[in-house]
Symmetry: C2
Subunit: 287 residues, 2 copies
């Protein structure tokens, strides 16, 4: 059975966006040298995680799509015949900014565009200040190496999002992420949070019978210690590759997309959904 | 903070229904002696798992609601001030049978009735032959000790079901279950299946910020070795109680329902659901 080689790039970020972009491009090239076919960068990889503060100056980090960053990525996608999933802080219009991701096909063409649908707002994650909620829905992006659903960070806690991209035909869901611990959090609380984070994403693989890859940044920035731990789960939710909590890393996993149909034939959940009884899922609350 | 004591009863079943009922009643009494307040029995606890074969004679096992089994359970609920969740093979009418569960409040009154919504059909799990799909939707049952969502076995693989009972106000989801391995399955495949089974249910706890309890039978019947392993997960998906894979057991867990709001305040997923974008969840497939 044929496999597709996936590379998840987790990295520390510096203050200068140009340096982060250059580092990401170097790591993408290295992934290509290791025969990766699909490469995914972490959420907002071009900058530090500026959402720790509400500061209107940070909107200066936003870029148009297409723009200089997407052009650089498109070029390397074409040169190395890679599919690249790249998060972008998107400037769509004056006052309309999105936490987005683009997908380049292996010929360098734009295969897809996603705008983060679920926007968090927590201490040190002031994303509702920066990001207009996405309006592109939950699409799947068809590429030379497979059909990819891209969801971003906070989206990972919503089974609805995973289900919708699965129903659109995704073989792989990628979750570029920026999640960390506060400095004063205790070891036990840290483990509990990271376990929950991994568990729910493994469950999306299980519920939908597909591959899931989560790419999280590493390093300390301001009040946060990003916990890395990027991983890939197979269609039964088993972790087949796992990165460290603190180091720059290119995490490689070979995904056998033929497994998807085999798993779904044995656990035919998609056959049995009670679509006649799910209407209330579009309510805020029942009662 | 006040806690509610939950008891999950996993047990081997014999051929005679009366003996299984008597055993279940004894174990319920023992759970009461151990100060349980909510007690949950396993799926179809009154019989062996007859769905391994399609045999019209097995419909003889079905019972009306109310009927002798519900009366016996109501009585012990009242006598011991217990909330009891009891799966029943329900005879609703000639030719209409359901895989159901009833909930008795601590005064013995009927607090709720659920009919399994997702019906499996796999080798040795020929449930589509026996059970008409449920038509009571995904209700929550309000009892003296808390609000309970009851879902049954195959339902556990569907995030939609967990979400809907959570949105109806459930503090605890209970999953009476009958799941096992075929004799010829290898150790590695067994572990992988059981891990997926536990992982997805822990994820329902995480996604919805509530307690989850799964109650699975034990013992060998025909072609199946039921894997027991009943467990309780807290609102962050951590397993707080875990039973063995092969022995009769009353698994006790103290659930602190106040934790639910605390967890949901820190991880406010329910605030951020994109109900404007979930309409396609009522489709069979997108495309």
């Amino acid at each position: 059975m044929e496999s597709v080689r996936l590379a998840l790039i987790q990295m520390k970020c510096e203050e200068q966006p140009e340096r982060n972009l250059a580092k990401a491009l170097r790591m993408v090239e290295e992934a290509a040298s290791r025969k990766a076919q699909i490469v995914c960068l972490q959420e907002l990889f071009r900058s530090q995680y500026f959402c720790q503060r509400e500061d209107a100056k940070s909107f200066e980090l936003a870029e148009p799509i297409p723009g200089p960053t997407t052009e650089a990525l498109s070029e390397v996608a074409k040169k190395r015949s890679l599919v690249i999933v790249a998060p972008i802080f998107e400037r769509r219009a004056a006052g309309v900014y999105h936490n987005s991701a683009v997908v380049f096909d292996a010929d360098g063409s734009l295969a897809g565009h996603y705008r983060k649908m679920h926007i968090p707002e927590d201490p040190c994650y002031f994303e509702k200040f920066y990001f207009t909620p996405g309006d592109l829905g939950f699409p799947v992006h068809r590429t030379r190496y497979g059909s990819i659903g891209v969801l971003i960070c906070w989206d990972q806690w919503f089974p609805e999002a995973a289900r919708l991209v699965a129903m659109a035909g995704a073989q792989l869901i990628l979750y570029p992420t920026a999640i960390g611990w506060y400095h004063d959090e205790k070891e036990r609380a840290r483990e509990k949070q990271r376990n929950a984070w991994q568990t729910i994403q493994r469950a999306h693989a299980i519920a939908n019978g597909l591959y899931v890859g989560a790419v999280n940044r590493v390093g300390v920035e301001g009040e946060l210690e990003f916990w890395g731990s990027s991983f890939v789960a197979d269609p039964m939710g088993e972790v087949i590759a796992q990165a460290s909590a603190s180091e720059d890393e290119i995490l490689i996993a070979d995904c056998v997309f033929d497994k998807i149909e085999r798993v779904r034939r044995n656990w035919p959940f998609l056959r049995d959904r009670r679509i006649d009884a799910y209407g209330d899922l579009t309510l805020r609350w029942r009662g």
